[in-house]
Amino acid sequence: MIEIENVRKSFGSLEVLKGIDLTVPRGEVLTVIGGSGSGKSTLLTCINGLEPINAGRILVDGTEVHAKTTNLNRLRQKIGIVFQQWNAFPHLTVKENVMLAPRKVLRQSKAEAEEMAVRQLTHVGLGDKLDVYPGRLSGGQQQRMAIARALAMTPDYMLFDEVTSALDPQLVGEVLDTLRLLASEGMTMICVTHEMKFAREVSDRVAFFHKGVMAEIAPPADLFDNPKDPELQRFLAATH
């Protein structure tokens, strides 16, 4: 379970999160929508401790992310994150990209890591690209590789930060299909996205962020068809 309690976060004098309260139970698929600068992506990087916070606290399975005593490297092993820019490691093959962290962080044997890599890559539909270098893949394929790379650490939670935003339109579908697959398998996911159709379809709940505040959170049918917050109404009118 991810518990976010009154989290505040500023970059300099700019407050991007103004007291967020949110609980994500295991197995939930939560999507976060909102305009750019609404703080939704920042929230994800705070959850796995890549960014410090200014107030409040975030608990992942009871462990406080930003406590000084928390071993962030260990905590991050159960929180996978995939970014808008997939960040393939260009000097490693697709398989080696996926094997790296299990080998070095989890100290798996080569055979173990390789088996896991092949399984995860096959899972995301890249079983035929194992020994190719990422430079030869399309953006969508690289993004799916990044998802497999995160999954190879067998995380309990997956965070997706606008994973389709940097893709050509015709490649968006294949990545969303991968996310749908994960959702259907019961993975706990927080997806920051601009894909409204996808959000409506896979989410258990959808949260709308506006100017650092979570303005509304509700199951997709309620949120999309019966939005209460005036900003959300405006946002949905603009994106439809």
Binding site: N87, F89, L100
Partner: protein, 221 residues
């Protein structure tokens, strides 16, 4: 006017000694590069550390190495250190001087290479649970070495040529030192140094061929 009589045979007979010298030259160059790369990586880490003392040490090193003559650096390694009671053999002084120079130049090259690697690369490693050092070691470092590979090759060539400065600290086992001694013995100056020049040239070509072979392994992506 021109009454120098070429006696190639006399110089040619000394080829085995000169080739022995060439091996020492290559040995010094290779060792100075291995040590230089390791030190340059350390200096790079110092500069990234955010610690003012460490980054100050690194910056000073790089500034001196790049902005003073290599001859001065080798001189300091021999006579300078002797002045404060550290007596190094000519071989060690030469190795130390060139290593110092290599590390400085390479550290600067590495800094440029690092600029070409986006911060999101180590960040992706961190988000997979790697420590800062692991992300550097397995993600940043391999890319940094690849990006700066041409300049590393260049520095290796420089290291070979810089060994000739060893004569100023009494080094007489390397190619240039051996040639110098033979010259003093036989006065076949032109012939001996012409042969030495050809050997230097061949060594550099061997290095470039080696670099090409290594690059084929490194740049498969």
């Amino acid at each position: 006017m021109f009454n120098y009589r070429f006696q190639w045979k006399q110089a040619w007979n000394r080829l085995p000694e000169m080739l022995d010298g060439a091996l020492i030259t290559m040995q010094v160059a290779i060792l100075s590069m291995i040590l230089g790369i390791v030190l340059a990586i350390l200096l790079t880490l110092f500069r990234r550390s955010g610690n003012r003392v460490l980054s100050g040490v690194a910056t000073t090193w790089v500034e001196i190495a790049r902005n003073t003559p290599a001859l001065f650096q080798i001189y300091m390694a021999h006579f300078g250190l002797a002045g404060i009671g550290i007596h190094l053999s000519p071989y060690s002084s030469l190795l130390l001087g060139i290593t110092f120079n290599n590390a400085g130049y390479l550290a600067e090259n590495f800094r440029g290479a690092l600029k070409a690697i986006p911060d999101t690369q180590p960040r992706a490693g961190r988000s997979l649970g790697m420590s800062d050092l692991q992300a550097f070691r397995f993600i940043v470092l391999p890319q940094m070495i690849r990006i700066s590979f041409p300049t590393i090759t260049n520095q290796m060539v420089w290291a070979v040529l810089m060994t000739s400065l060893g004569v100023t600290v009494g080094m007489n086992m390397d190619l240039y030192g051996v040639t110098q001694d033979l010259n003093a013995l036989t006065f076949r100056t032109f012939e001996l140094f012409a042969i030495a020049a050809v050997i230097f040239y061949v060594i550099v070509k061997i290095i470039q061929a080696g670099a090409w072979l290594i690059s084929r392994r490194l740049f498969r992506y």
